[in-house]
């Protein structure tokens, strides 16, 4: 029997989501945003072997790739959720890229951004909206 969509791919509260299956949350600093990939991304990528991230200080542009991940000769892109400047990257991923698979919402975070405009989460999907998106994606798995 197929799993219900919200069980197949976890999408916790307290995060916002974009159409690239990435999450956005408050960063360490109140002015910053933390970005990571969702359970859907890590699940569909398979075992992640390598992560390429920008250097702190790099500028990113909304909707454009800021990094990439590789699993089994397969490269997936990471997209900036807004214009801004990278203020920190998760250096733990250097030694343990598998953190993206094991704990995508906490230890597997990717970057922190200082947005170019005052931060607002309204442009991104709420948890219920993202779960609804996952439900549409999961339709093919239901009888």
């Amino acid at each position: 029997m197929a799993l219900k969509p919200t069980e197949r791919w976890h999408a916790p509260d307290d995060y916002w989501y974009d159409g690239h299956h990435q999450w956005i949350a408050d960063g360490e600093d109140t002015a910053t945003l933390r970005v990571g990939v969702t359970d859907y991304t890590q699940d569909t990528a398979g075992e992640i072997l390598y992560v390429s991230l920008p250097e702190p200080g790099a500028s990113v542009k909304e909707g454009e790739p800021f990094g990439s991940i590789e699993s089994g000769k397969w490269v997936g892109q990471l997209y900036a959720p807004c214009d801004g400047t990278v203020v920190a990257i998760n250096t733990a991923l250097q030694a343990e890229p598998q953190l993206l698979n094991q704990d995508p919402y906490q230890k597997g975070w990717l970057i922190e951004l200082h947005p170019a405009t005052p931060k607002s989460f309204s442009k991104w999907l709420t948890p219920p909206s993202y779960r609804a998106l996952l439900a549409t994606l999961d339709d093919g798995y239901h009888d």
Partner: protein, 355 residues
């Protein structure tokens, strides 16, 4: 797939070397599905997206670029027929893994080889083998909103040119590379009854199996519309900052020969006694299969199990070197842990890149 739009099939034959790479990058950016069959009019080298730029040897004089899909350095020339498949994610169920995309895109290639009477099989994630020898190497990724799988079928292959293009820390590793390629690769021309096979015939055969297998429809290329995008991408893929960027670096020099077969040499000072030692490892069978560069070790019988290296009659110094290359602490029954990945080791990491 019958109700979905048919995938345009572009049967191009020989094109400029750079276009063989910019075309699939460009069509992905233009959000177009496509199956492209072609070959380059002249040789070049293509590095993997995350590969260390230092692994290309510019002394070889071969033009080079870095693609945006996975895998490692490949030497490409006019005796390889390329297939490049760009599909909308809706072609498979949501949540499909890369292995499923590889299977979808590569089944027509396996079907074509079957038609030739060859027993071809896909070795996950992305090699096609005849017996135990690789005849087709492939890589993939998501570019824009398209799932992209690219690869080639070897009609003929100059192993020595490939060995020249790949950086080797010493002549022993380069010699080992060519020898290992000779053992683990095969071309159509080397198979019984296929010595006269032309790339044109191969391309026509692949076109037929892609039309049948992926519901492709023969289409005319839109060069005028595509050109500005392809020209810009061509500059980007050759940009020295992108091409020579640092990438993933293991504690040893490693060359992937085919899925599960790797060459390794230690990263030590060239004057160190360990420097010339190169080993070939099979991660599936967990064996060291061959050794180069050290006469004492070359004379021994190989293959040997990684788990029993400590039983070999050799000095502790050489044992330590071999164990380091096999990712195995001396005296412990442990070894390689990731058998089906591109790097074959457990110490993968992150590359910080500014560009």
């Amino acid at each position: 797939m019958g109700r979905e739009p048919r995938v345009p099939l572009y049967v191009l034959g020989g094109v400029d070397w750079l276009t063989t790479q910019t075309l699939y990058h460009g069509l992905a950016e233009l959000d177009e599905e496509a199956i492209i069959l072609c070959w380059p009019k002249s040789p070049y080298v293509s590095l993997g997206c995350h590969q260390d730029g230092a692994e290309f040897d510019p002394v070889s004089g071969i033009p080079a670029l870095r693609r945006r899909v996975g895998g490692t350095l490949v030497y490409l020339d006019e005796q390889q027929v390329f297939f490049q498949v760009l599909m909308d994610p809706s072609r498979l169920l949501p949540g499909a893994r890369p292995s499923e995309w590889y299977r979808l895109a590569l089944e027509p290639v396996v079907a074509y080889l079957d038609r030739l009477g060859l027993e071809a099989r896909l070795k996950p994630p992305a090699d096609i083998l005849i017996g135990s020898r690789k005849i087709s190497g492939n890589a993939g990724g998501q570019l824009g909103d398209k799932m992209v799988i690219v690869g080639n079928l070897l009609v003929d292959f100059p192993r020595h040119r490939m060995a020249e293009a790949r950086y080797a820390p010493n002549p022993e590793m380069r010699r080992a590379f060519e020898a290992s390629l000779n053992q683990h690769l095969v071309t159509l021309h080397e198979l019984p009854g296929l010595a006269g096979m032309t790339r044109e015939t191969v391309m026509e055969g692949l076109a037929e199996t892609y039309i049948l297998g992926l519901n492709a429809v023969l289409s005319e290329p839109a060069w005028t519309r595509w050109s500005p995008t392809l020209e810009r991408i061509g500059r980007e893929l050759q940009d020295p900052r992108w091409l020579r960027a640092e990438g993933y670096r293991l504690p040893y020099h490693q060359i992937k020969i085919r899925e599960s077969v790797y060459l390794r040499a230690l990263r030590v000072d060239p004057a160190h006694p360990w420097a010339p030692l190169t080993v070939e490892l099979h991660t599936d069978s967990r064996t060291v299969t061959r050794v180069w560069g050290v006469e004492e070790l070359e004379r021994m019988d190989w293959p040997r199990s990684i788990d029993h290296l400590h039983e070999l009659p050799m000095s502790p110094d050489w044992l330590e070197a071999l164990c380091r290359l096999a990712d195995r602490p001396p005296g412990q029954h442990e070894g390689l842990t990731k058998e089906e990945n591109d790097y074959g080791v457990e110490t993968d990491g992150t590359m910080a890149r500014s560009g």
